[in-house]
Structure formats: C-alpha cells, structure tokens
C-alpha cells in the first residue's frame, strides 16, 4: 500500500533499505547519520524488516562486514558520514575491486580537524577515486528513490559496483518533509531479488582476491572503468523507468533546469541545486538568461552531459561545497576537464561555498550568478576561484 509520510531523509534511507529487502545491515553511529541506523534497528526489532543487524565496533568493520556478507550472497546496506567514511577508505577500494553491489548512505559532513558536525562534501568527494558510484540528493524523496535505484543499478550485470547515496547532514538528514513510499509489491517488481557476480559457495570453492601480478592487474582495473561507463548509460534509463512506475525522476545524471537558452549555467550538487532553481526563476523574471544544472551523479562523471550543456552558453559557474587544497573544488576541475577540446566553450568561474555547513541560500546563489554574469559581460573571469562570503 502506497503511503505518504512526513519524515527525515535519514529515516527515509532506512525505509528504503527495508523496501529493498536488504538482508544484512552493518551499523555504527556517527553524527549526523545515526538516525538511519536507529530507524533500521526499530524495523528489525519489531519484525517489520527481516534482516541481520550487525552492531559493529567501527566503520572500518562496518564496511568489512558488508563486503563479506555481500560476497556470501545477500543484499547489504550501511551508512556513515565524514570521519567514518574516511575510516572505511581502504575498505571502499576493496569493495569496488571485489565488484560487490553494496549500497551505502553517506550523510555528508565536513572532515576535521577541527571537529565540525555540519555539512559539506569533503567526506564523500575525498573518496571519488575509490571506484564507488556516487549519487548526490537534493530532497528527502530523492534519497528514498535513489537508494532503490542504486540497488537496481549496482546489481546489473554490466555494473556490479558499489554505490554511495549522499545527502547533506542536517539540511536533509534531520529535516521533516512529506515523502511517498510506493507499495512493496510495486517495489518488488522494480527491484528483483539479489544478484551478484560471484559468491563464496562450499560447492564451488574459490579463493577471492589473492595476488594478481602486473601481467593482469591493469585488465581487472579496466573492467571497473568499463562498468562505470555502463553505469553512465544505465543510470538515466533506470531513473526514467523509476519515474514511469513511481512518478519521481531526477534527470538521470544531471538535473537540468532552464538551461536550453541560458547564457550562464550554474553547476551545483546536492541541496544547493534546489536553491539554485529559486535563484534562476528570480533572475529569469529580471530577464537574465540563467539556468542551473545539478550534478546528481559525480561518479561516473557525466562528461557528455556537461558538453551537451555548452549550447550557446558563454559562462559556466561551478559551486563547490568542497575544496581540494592546493587546487580548487572537484566540480570545477572536472567540468573544466570536460570542456577541454570542445568547440565554443564557455568560460568557467569556480566558487567555493558552504564549507563546514555555512548556509548557502538562494540569495547567495543569486550573488554568485550576478558576479558570473558581470564577468561574462566583460569577457574576463577576474578570479579563477572565489570563496563565497569569506569573512575579512
């Protein structure tokens, strides 16, 4: 039976794990993820969810338990944030190299030192090279839907990679909004039972992941890259199919808003994408041709989608809730990279905003857009990277 509930993104991630009929959950608490695993504990203990709940003693063990459970033939789930994700780092590599379709919710929170509990993307973006598919959500509904879409994608035999579904801490994780949960029947017809590419089976013994010499290592790595390319193709298909079945879709890899005739396209990730729409509408009323593109999937990076957005745009403005010290935000770098060698490329202005949870409102985004438009008119990007609202 379809229900409409009012709940937080964290709880909805829990609902999604339940709806996906996850069988093993590894749970370790960290702010602001904690309510994900608490919700799942409720479901398991009251019998609503038939799953094994492993209360591990660290995030590193959480991912290790998921890797082994997935290898033993079941759908697995875990969740973490910030330093917990960082602690799992080597295990993330191991999971993708093992081609296991684990889905993890990452409730984005700034990395320390110093301690911060507020959101930015330094945690998940630092893991961009681990071979995990990365989704960035802008609403509670999207979190629920994306967890289900992620399982469908990861268990596709052309993919078999793990995925993280990212959502900003406190902005989404602890904010109550309405959300629709489809009927279990409909979910079951969308998401078939667990499938993996290999498993530990006493009737067919194998040793997994013993030493691979230089003569074949590259080819195994290449197959992960191929899987990422396949994911790039499958994500929009799955999103469209999900939209047909359940009424919610998110533009596949990139959620575009009023970009068709835009002079300036604003690139964002996560909830800034929602605020960007408000800013775009306001500026459009003023006669400014601005559009916004929310990068929903950071890995695999939607290079082709970025190139399609060149259109007649003269300016791209990237807003990164992240900084790679010594360079710039990853979104800026990868967008610039996507434009290289293309015809009539727009200029790119990079903006850093919202680190450590500093609020980025639609007014802030409007300021960013207006500054970019000014540079567009003068033809010169005055500063390659601008730290927005930085105190003097």
């Amino acid at each position: 039976m379809e229900q409409t509930i009012i709940d937080t993104a964290n709880h909805l991630a829990g609902y999604a794990a339940k709806a996906a009929r996850v069988k093993v959950v590894a749970a370790y608490p960290i702010t602001p993820q904690t309510t994900v695993v608490e919700k799942i504990a409720e479901f398991v203990e009251n019998g609503e969810m038939d799953a094994e709940y492993i209360r591990v003693e660290s995030e590193h063990s959480a991912m290790a338990a998921c890797i082994s459970a997935a290898a033993t033939g079941v759908r697995t789930f875990t969740a973490t944030s910030s330093h917990g994700l960082a602690l799992m780092h080597e295990a993330l590599h191991w999971a993708s190299g093992s081609r296991l379709p684990i889905v993890m919710t990452v409730v984005n929170r700034a990395m320390g030192a110093p301690w911060s509990i507020w959101p930015d993307f330094s945690d998940s973006l630092s893991q961009r090279d681990t071979g995990w598919i990365q989704f960035y959500c802008a609403s509670n509904q999207e979190v629920f839907d994306t967890v289900l879409q992620a399982y469908k994608l990861c268990e596709n035999e052309q993919v078999f990679l793990p995925a993280m579904v990212c959502l900003e801490g406190f902005i989404l994780s602890h904010t109550y909004t309405p959300a629709k949960i489809p009927s279990q029947e409909k979910i079951d017809s969308f998401l078939p039972p667990y499938k993996s590419g290999w498993s530990l089976d006493v009737d067919h013994p194998v040793s997994h992941a013993n030493l691979v010499a230089p003569d074949w290592f590259m080819e195994f790595r290449y197959s992960i890259q191929e899987a990422m390319e396949n994911a790039k193709r499958l994500i929009p298909e799955i999103d469209r199919d999900y939209g047909k079945r359940f009424g919610f879709e998110y533009g596949g890899l990139v959620e575009k808003y009023r970009c068709e005739d835009a002079d300036l396209v604003l690139f964002t990730m996560g909830t800034m994408g929602s605020d960007a729409k408000i800013a775009v509408d306001k500026m459009r009323k003023e006669g400014l041709k601005v559009g916004s593109a929310r990068i929903r999937v950071f890995r695999p990076f939607p290079m082709e989608e970025i190139r399609k957005l060149i259109g007649n745009a003269q300016m791209f403005a990237t807003i990164d809730r992240h900084i790679s010290f010594g360079m710039e935000g990853f979104l800026a770098t990868e967008i610039k990279s996507s434009l290289l060698g293309q015809k009539d490329t727009p200029k790119v202005a990079g903006f850093i905003a919202g680190l450590g949870g500093r609020d980025v409102s639609s007014e802030t985004i409007e300021k960013i857009a207006k500054k970019s438009l000014k540079w567009m008119d003068t033809g010169k990007v005055e500063e390659e990277t601008v730290w927005v609202d930085l105190r003097k």
Partner: protein
C-alpha cells in the same frame, strides 16, 4: 579448473582463483635434500604423512607413505620425526 587467461574476455569479474595442485609450480625444484623411505624399516605409523607441511606425502592403502617428489620441498620434517629413522635425507645430486 584454473586456466591462465589468454585475453581480457577470459577474465572473471574480479580475481577468482580455483583450487589447483602446484599453484606455485613444481615446488620439488626447491629441494637441496630429498627424503628417501626405507620401507623395510617403515612401521606405517603415518607420522610423516601427518606432519608434511606440503601434503606431499600420500598415505597409501596400507598406511605406508608415498612421497611426491614433484612437490616435496625437502624440509626434512618427515625424516626428523620418523620414530624408527626409516627416512634419510640425501643430497639431490647423489
């Protein structure tokens, strides 16, 4: 069960290795000394069979040992443990 891949399409999804005798090749080539069993002294106690780290000794139907020289590394544990000293270690070249 295990085939050395010849091209990318032979590769499994992720490195999966199948049980193989001689995973490191014919480790008998590692030997300097080889054990030799004097079956007239052997009491078929099976101690040598139990302690071979390489499982290179087969326990035959009558419980006497059969050493697989393709894989025996010549460690000498069997000779050292034999309670009746029925196994002698001899230099390979002899």
């Amino acid at each position: 069960m295990s085939k050395v891949p010849k091209s990318r399409k032979d590769l499994p999804l992720t490195p999966l290795s199948y049980p193989t005798f001689g995973s490191m090749g014919k480790t008998g080539s590692w030997r300097t000394f080889r054990p030799e069993v004097d079956y007239s002294k052997c009491t078929k106690c099976t101690i040598c069979w139990v302690y071979c780290p390489d499982a290179a000794i087969t326990r035959q139907n009558d419980d006497s040992p059969k050493i697989d020289y393709d894989y025996c590394k010549g460690c000498g544990i069997c000779a050292n443990e034999c309670p009746v000293k029925a196994i002698k270690m001899r230099r390979e070249e002899e």
